[in-house]
């Protein structure tokens, strides 16, 4: 791979910046099970980075390490040039890392708008006291937050369901609302856990378009886990391939596609 100390330029002409997050020799165990074994990789400013692998490869565990939900037994997470100590997920969120979930985790009884607004919670500064009085700065803050939420609603084209309770939406739309909520936090890194799982072709195309647009419009760095190989190869700039908790490949989609270990992991190997 070419030297990329200060970033690189992608095939479609986007400038990718320096490393914002680096995983150094991460190992994660659950009792005797090693979910992640000594994995290192980095995520660069502005890139779309995919983590792929067969079922049980440890992809979701990896994402949970990045989001701070799991603390690895070994290894270091470096974020924006410094080592990140063990943190609670909300502290990670405050650092500008937002995520969506594989199994949609929205507030079903609340409207789309309210759900998106919850994404702004980490950006709120007024405390419970001011919020309950509801004058002055709490009100101004809510207005500002609403503006951000509305811009995202407009961006993801969900204006028509703004006031609809989430429970009434289709699966594809719920996924989009989740993305909206994650974006509402104005993250510098967005983690997407299987954003296309369970979608039909049209919904997948829409979601891919939105992911590219988010990256393009807001310059958000995106790390995503995805099963659908076609989608991953089209969307991402660089791909990490995992199998049985180990990293077996890392590079551009075409490099990864031609990697023998990756082919073996996906297609299987002949045993004598």
């Amino acid at each position: 791979m070419k030297d990329m100390t200060d970033g690189y330029v992608t095939a479609d002409g986007r400038q990718i910046g320096p490393v914002v997050m680096e995983m150094k020799n991460i190992t994660l165990r659950f009792g005797g099970v090693e979910a992640i074994k000594d994995i290192s990789f980095d995520i660069r400013q502005g890139e779309i980075r995919a983590i792929i692998g067969p079922n049980g490869a440890g992809k979701s565990s990896m994402l949970n390490v990045i989001s701070g939900f799991y603390v690895p037994q070994e290894g270091e997470v470096w974020y924006k040039g410094s080592r990140r100590p063990a943190m609670k997920p909300f502290e990670v969120a405050q650092q500008g890392i937002a995520r969506t979930f594989q199994n949609i985790a929205l507030f079903e009884g609340m409207s789309v708008l309210d759900n998106v607004m919850t994404g702004r919670l980490t950006n709120m500064k007024t405390g419970m006291f001011w919020q309950s009085i509801w004058k002055g700065k709490a009100e101004r803050e809510e207005t500002a937050n609403r503006e951000v939420a509305e811009k995202i609603i407009d961006f993801l084209e969900i204006q028509a369901i703004r006031k609809t309770p989430v429970s009434r939406l289709s699966y594809g739309l719920k996924k989009r609302v989740e993305l909206a909520r994650a974006l509402a936090a104005e993250p510098s890194i967005l983690l997407l856990d299987e954003p296309m799982a369970g979608m039909n072709v049209e919904e997948k195309e829409d979601m891919s378009r939105f992911i590219l647009d988010v990256n393009d419009e807001f310059g958000t760095t995106i790390a995503l886990i995805e099963h659908d190989m076609g989608v991953v190869m089209d969307l991402s700039d660089r791909v990490v391939v995992m199998d049985y908790g180990k990293k077996i490949g890392d590079g551009t989609p075409s490099e990864v596609r031609n990697n023998q270990d990756v082919i073996d992991a996906y297609l299987g190997v002949a045993h004598d």
Binding site: G13, R14, E147, E150, D154, Q159, A160, D213, D216, E217
Partner: protein, 656 residues
């Protein structure tokens, strides 16, 4: 500077009207658009400034007098301003149908030789970029919404707001020139060019002068007593003459406010929020609204349903009479007032029609039941008859003389005459200048004295002076036995059934009439759901035996009603099929305004028509379809041909 543009007879151009409004109604809202969940509004003074900034920017980009500037996108204030800015610099605005595909756009853009295109968003930009190699005069494109366009090559592409900024910066350089160009505009200069949807052949560019626009706006506003405080919702295609006259012509003349919805999907919510006082919709919109109300009432509790039925029956009885100001008994009035409180008021509110003072429907015939439903609620829904060549208005129904079977009396300043063959001709200040680059068609349509052929056959009713339209003149034909054939008349009767979306009747020069029928997926789908009938696709539902039975009963009902009409009893439908696909503008079967293209359909489904006439019980066919993104595919199906009962016709029996 505004006063310099206004002659003794009042403002002589669209920009002059804008300057007048910016002065006279400076702080009144002119345009509103819902964005980011909030209605953003611009006063007339702000609108003038926005338009002027864009016009100055266009000068900076080198726009010349007489240039054509194409405008493509959904209804947004920015695009209405673009039309006005184009006129300010002496260019001609040409709004295009936003759902047209790239090839259709290529034809129009090339025909008018547009140098500039002002597009709404990436979708429209992409379409123009796709065909730009075919366009010799195209130079630059402006876009409103930057989304997704960041990475595009900006050598010949600018953001709308950037051009406005450019214009504001270069104000000192160009303002004199801009004023000079506006001063040159008068009643005879071109105000806009609109392409007709083209029921037959290629679209034609209808050139409308400032006289056409302003005179029409003036007389029609007076006819309906429009006020400066009125509100309209602009949601119909910008390329359609009606939208231009309502949202630009009349809006400028009376100074009322034009409201643009947030997106096509939110139109209904936006309608409720704005509560327009002046509202226009094609029959389809009213029909869809009524269907959805009826479907929802089916789900209501029994008491509510009972209440609804009871009061609606009363409304049908006395509602229209009350609306027309006729005398109605005190008891009935009291009951109607109670209904208004309990049913009609809340229902109108749900529909977003509470504040409507003047509502119009046109473009197609509206079913009497639908029409009466809205009128009985106290909504002043009326019909008008018009076309692009007349700058919309030919006839309209005055308050108090509204009926579902006529299209009203002549609008102020309009003269009518009926030719030998029944074709309707008119002459008015709204009559178009010419078809652009098409003198033959112009001469065919408009004679030396200014009479224009509408292409519709109709007659003026004795006594009332109301015009009644029967059909397109060229579609009216003769059956083999010499009796009159008026397909539209029969099709409209069929389409009045909620289950039937579209119908095409054949029979010109033949012994008997036959029909293609499209089911309405919403209505029939809902029925299927209620009766536990499973279906996977439109095609499957369309050929379900029970659906066929229902459609057959509708056809027979229509036959029974046609049989009573002495002149048209030969038009009864003997055999019909329910088509396996919806007729679609993307496949060229309908125009963009959803009018049936008989010739295209006749050629495309030739095999099915043959089967309708050779007595075969079914027909297998393969049809090519075009998807929204332009890809092509095909669907094959076997259609059942049904015989419908026809009713005794005494005349015919005697002849045999």
């Amino acid at each position: 500077m505004a006063h310099t543009l206004v002659s003794a007879d009042g403002p002589q151009s669209v920009p002059a009207l804008l300057h007048r409004n910016a002065k006279q109604f400076a702080n009144a809202p002119a345009y509103r658009e819902k964005e980011y969940g909030i209605w953003q509004s611009w006063t007339w003074a702000q609108t003038r400034d926005e338009v002027e900034a864009l016009a100055l920017g266009l000068l900076e980009l080198g726009a010349n007098e007489g240039d054509f500037i194409a405008i493509i996108g959904r209804n947004r204030p920015y695009l209405y301003w673009a039309m006005m800015a184009a006129e300010m610099v002496g260019a001609v605005p040409v709004p295009l149908y936003q759902d047209a595909n790239a090839e259709e756009m290529a034809y129009v853009l090339d025909h008018c030789g547009a140098r500039f295109v002002i597009a709404g968003d990436q979708e429209q930009v992409d379409k123009v970029l796709d065909v730009q190699d075919q366009l010799t005069q195209f130079e630059r494109m402006l876009y409103v919404d930057a989304r997704g366009l960041r990475k595009y090559d900006h050598a010949a592409l600018d953001q709308y707001s950037a051009v406005q900024d450019m214009g504001r910066k270069a104000r000192d350089t160009h303002i004199k020139e801009l004023e000079a160009r506006q001063a040159k505009l008068d009643y005879d200069s071109t105000g806009v060019m609109l392409y007709t949807s083209g029921t037959t052949g290629k679209p034609k560019g209808v050139v409308l002068s400032n006289r056409n626009i302003i005179e029409t706006a003036k007389s029609s506003s007076a006819f309906d007593k429009l006020r400066q405080t009125d509100d309209i919702l602009a949601y119909l295609p910008m390329a359609w003459v009606g939208d231009f006259i309502f949202s630009v012509g009349q809006a400028l003349w009376t100074g009322f406010c034009t409201n643009c919805p947030e997106s096509a999907d939110t139109m209904h919510v936006d309608l409720r929020e704005i509560g327009p006082t002046y509202y226009f919709a094609p029959p389809r919109v009213f029909e869809t609204q009524l269907t959805s109300v009826m479907i929802r009432m089916e789900d209501a509790s029994r008491f509510k349903k009972w209440l609804f039925d009871k009061f609606m029956a009363h409304a049908r009885k006395v509602g229209p009479a009350i609306l027309d100001g006729k005398s109605v008994g005190a008891m009935d009035r009291a009951k109607y007032a109670l209904g208004e409180l309990m049913i009609y008021g809340p229902l109108k509110n749900t529909l977003g029609l509470s504040r409507v003072r003047v509502g119009y429907t046109a473009g197609e015939a509206i079913g009497p039941e639908i029409f009466d439903f809205y009128r009985s609620l106290g909504i002043n829904l009326k019909q008008l008859y018009g076309q692009t060549e007349a700058t919309v208005f030919i006839t309209a129904q005055p308050d108090g003389e509204v009926r579902s079977d006529t299209v009203g009396v002549t609008c102020p300043g309009v003269e009518l005459k009926i030719a030998e063959n029944g074709e309707v001709f008119y002459r008015s200040p709204g009559v178009f200048v010419e078809y652009y680059k098409n003198p033959e068609s112009t001469a065919d349509t408009k004679d030396a004295e200014g009479w224009v052929a509408t292409g519709d056959a109709g007659f003026i009713e004795e006594g009332t002076g109301h015009l009644r339209i029967i059909d397109r003149a060229k579609d009216v034909g003769k059956m083999a036995n010499g009796s009159l054939f008026a397909p539209k008349y029969v099709e409209n009767k069929l389409k009045f059934f909620p289950n039937i979306l579209e119908a095409v009747v054949f029979g010109n020069g033949r012994d008997e009439c036959t029909a293609f029928i499209n089911i309405d997926l919403t209505a029939v789908g809902n029925w299927a759901e209620r009766n536990n009938i499973g279906y996977a696709s439109y095609q499957e539902l369309a050929r379900h035996p029970q659906v066929m039975d229902t459609i057959q009963s509708h056809v027979e009902e229509v036959n029974a009603s046609i049989a009573e009409d002495e002149m048209l009893s030969g038009c009864q439908v003997h055999r019909f099929v329910v088509l396996h696909k919806e007729l679609d503008a993307d496949d060229g079967e309908l125009t963009r305004t959803r009018k049936v293209r008989r010739k295209v359909i006749g050629e495309k489904f030739d095999d099915i028509i043959t089967a309708l006439y050779d007595g075969s019980p079914s027909v297998s066919t393969v049809t090519e379809v075009t998807y929204e993104d332009g890809r092509k595919g095909s669907i094959s199906a076997t259609l059942e041909v049904r015989d419908a009962k026809v009713f005794a016709d005494t005349r015919k029996m005697a002849a045999q």
